[in-house]
């Protein structure tokens, strides 16, 4: 596992996570914390998969 590759995915993961949180809480709608956590879980698993850690 290349550390530079992981570092790059971390940066992307942070952007994606913050995008999820931002878009989940607009003036007229709010997504539950449970749904947000599932989205974050998906993002992390996908990023780990990109570097060959997850299946």
């Amino acid at each position: 596992m290349n550390d530079k590759d992981i570092e790059a995915t971390i940066d992307l993961a942070i952007r994606e996570i913050l995008t999820v949180i931002r878009s989940s809480s607009t003036a007229t709608s709010e997504v539950s914390g449970e749904q947000n956590m599932t989205s974050i879980e998906t993002i992390i698993n996908r990023k780990l998969s990109d570097v060959g850690i997850e299946e």
Partner: protein, 673 residues
């Protein structure tokens, strides 16, 4: 957010409807509302705050009395405030109503699309998401409270305000969720680790069992080899003894071999009987106890049934047949004797039913069945016992015959036979011990094999090192994300602090009489310093200038972040700056300075001013950006001849009257200039 309109109905000084349209163009974004003390400037600030959050600001007196006094006299006990605003290009209406008698308020919200009002559920939550209530003091502001801000008081709330403006609340939420996810994964990993510990134990048990199997198999094989050798030797000895030409010796030897062969299978026969007995006990042993418990009860039940004590002396079919035929068993005609018929009918209550009879028969049947099983068990056990006895007797008979043959052979006076017989006895003893040893080796081998199977099953159920590894990677990854995100927040916070500090110091350099600069510490307290770094004891005016500079710099920062996209945190909260009496402690020069930089700092500015705050420098500073300007005129029923002086304010060189007397109602009127 930009405010579009405020509409008040019977709210405090405002009788009936009062409407204020706010300037919201990018260039003409200042709304000035003039009003003398007590006519409703602070009421307007509080009307907006109350409409949004359901509470007035802390210094708004008698906040439970919101309905206009003149309206109350007309028995109108309710008031309402409506605010229309734009947020992210959507047009909203929020209306809050208050029933003063009940002391309850309700809020409704709409989104206006193409002139249609579309209801919005949870308008309170919508407002909280646009401008959280803890942010409101930085946007809906009472200038007289300026001196309480800054160093000491409210440091944390300043920090929170800055974090919210910068959009850190999203990052905070993300960190919170990452923390929850980490806990979830830690629990899953811990569970796997526990399972893995069991798995390692199972692996060790499997390895140990395999070693035992190998050792037991070697021992077993070794015993078998030795036994083969000994049995071969025994056979040789038998043949050698039989070859000696002495009368009957060969026959004796042959006979002995047959007996010994039979003797060797006797233990197997006894073991077989043991196993059969164990099987019988486990399968039918209960019937002995069951039968001994039930036999007396079954007998009693059967006797009761025979004697018709149970379930009853008579059954319902019999009683019904009597009723149907109309004749009692005693011959009484039931059709002519109602009394006799009633007695027979009463018998039905105590008569047995077919269900009861079936249940009794079934209970007796079960008891009899147990008796049968018990009998079968006893018979089989007796048979096995007899078989065992037979085998034991045969064993005794064989032993006696072998002893006899041995004696007869020993009587043959022949040195060679004696020697061969002695060797043979040794070999036979050794063979017996080897058979026992071989048997023990077989048991050890079986046990080790079973242990290995159990270990294998456990290992299969619990070992999942790969999955555990994935969880550990996830946890490491979350830690790195959290660390990176915290670093980003720290960098952004520092950058924001520096930016605010820079804005404040630009203003101080431009407007302060002295060569001072401001420094914001890590805990967000800020103070004025001389160029050599010595802290300065601020005058009231300097403190007010510094504080209003700080707040407007904060809003300017939010505005700049709304205008440009950001890599991580994008735009934060931004709202109109509604400020009541901002110039109280400022001298004329500083008033001009604030009037000049406030419009630069905000997207929308609403200033509430009394004539004492108004003057040329303020007007010069605000004029170019002003889109709407109102006067709050106080109307009163007081007789004009009572000697009251008329208030006036000069705006753009024209004098405007701020108070009127001798009118039918006392109220404040909003007039557009």
């Amino acid at each position: 957010m930009k405010l579009i309109q405020l509409r008040m109905n019977d709210f405090r000084q405002f009788l009936g409807e009062a409407v204020i349209d706010f300037a919201s163009d990018n260039n003409d974004m200042v709304t000035i509302i003039h009003g003398e003390n007590g006519v409703g400037k602070t009421t307007i600030l509080n009307a907006i705050h109350w409409c949004f959050y359901g509470v007035t600001l802390s210094d708004f007196e008698k906040s439970e009395l919101l309905v206009n006094e003149e309206a109350l006299k007309k028995e109108i006990n309710t008031t309402a405030v409506e605010v229309q605003f734009l947020h992210n290009e959507a047009h909203f209406r929020i209306i809050r109503r208050y029933d003063q008698n009940a002391g309850e308020s309700t809020v409704t919200g709409f989104r206006i699309e193409k002139g249609n009002n579309i209801p919005v559920n949870g308008m309170d939550a919508v407002i909280q998401r646009i401008i959280p209530v803890h942010m409101s003091p930085y946007f809906f502001f009472h200038g007289e409270g300026l001196n309480s801000l800054g160093s000491g008081v409210g440091r944390n709330s300043f920090r929170e305000a800055i974090r919210a403006i910068l959009g850190f609340n999203h990052a905070d939420r993300a960190l919170e969720l990452l923390g929850s996810l980490k806990i979830k994964w830690q629990k899953a990993a811990a569970k796997l680790e526990r399972l893995d510990a069991q798995g390692r134990a199972a692996l060790e048990a499997e390895a140990s069992a395999t070693e035992n199997i190998v050792a037991a198999r070697d021992n077993y094989q070794e015993s078998e080899n030795q036994l083969d050798l000994v049995e071969t030797r025994l056979q040789e000895l038998n043949e050698e003894i039989a070859s000696i030409n002495i009368s009957n010796v060969d026959k004796l030897v042959e006979r002995r071999q047959k007996l010994e062969k039979r003797e060797r299978v006797i233990p197997k026969g006894l073991a077989s009987i043991d196993n059969q007995e164990i099987g019988l006990i486990s399968k039918y042993g209960w019937s002995i106890y069951g039968y001994s418990t039930l036999k007396d009860s079954a007998k009693v039940l059967e006797n009761f049934r025979t004697e018709r004590k149970l379930p009853s002396e008579y059954n319902d079919r019999f009683v019904n047949s009597l009723l149907k035929e109309g004749v009692c068993i005693c011959g009484t005609d039931l059709t002519v004797s109602p009394e006799a018929r009633s007695k027979v009918e009463a018998m039905l209550a105590g008569a047995s039913t077919s269900d009861q009879e079936d249940a009794l028969t079934s209970a007796i049947g079960i008891a009899e069945n147990i008796e049968d099983v018990s009998g079968l068990y006893t018979t089989r056990v007796t048979q096995l016992s007899a078989a065992r006895q037979e085998i034991i007797e045969e064993q005794g008979s064989i032993s006696r015959k072998l002893e006899e043959i041995k004696n007869r052979l020993s009587q043959v006076d022949h040195v060679r036979i004696a020697k061969l017989e002695a060797d043979r006895e040794d070999a036979k003893g050794l063979a017996g011990r080897l058979r026992d040893h071989k048997h023990l080796c077989k048991i050890a081998l079986d046990n080790a094999s079973k242990a290995r199977e159990v270990a294998k099953r456990k290992k299969k159920a619990v070992v999942n090192e790969e999955e555990l590894g994935i969880y550990q990677s996830r946890l490491d990854y979350i830690d790195r994300i959290v660390e990176s995100m915290k670093n980003l927040i720290q960098v952004e916070e520092l950058s924001a602090r520096n930016e605010i500090e820079e804005i404040i110091n630009e203003r101080l350099a431009k407007y302060s009489r002295k060569d001072y600069y401001s420094e914001i510490s890590e805990d967000f307290s800020f103070e004025l310093k001389k160029q050599d770094g010595t802290p300065v004891a601020k005058s009231k005016g300097e403190r007010a200038l510094l504080n209003i500079s700080f707040i407007s710099a904060l809003i300017q920062l939010a505005k700049s972040r709304c205008d440009s996209s950001h890599d991580y945190f994008v735009q934060g909260t931004v709202a109109p700056f509604v400020i009541d009496a901002p110039f109280g402690e400022l001298d004329n020069k500083y008033r001009g300075a604030v009037a000049e930089f406030l419009p630069e700092s905000t997207e929308q500015l609403i200033v509430l001013l009394s004539s004492s705050h108004w003057g040329k420098v303020v007007e010069d500073g605000l004029r170019d950006s002003t889109g709407k300007e109102y006067i709050l005129v106080s109307e009163s029923q007081i007789d004009p001849s009572a000697g009251k002086t008329l208030d006036e304010i000069v705006i753009g060189g024209i004098a405007h009257q701020c108070s009127r007397y001798g009118l039918p109602e006392t109220k404040t009127v909003v007039e557009l200039i």
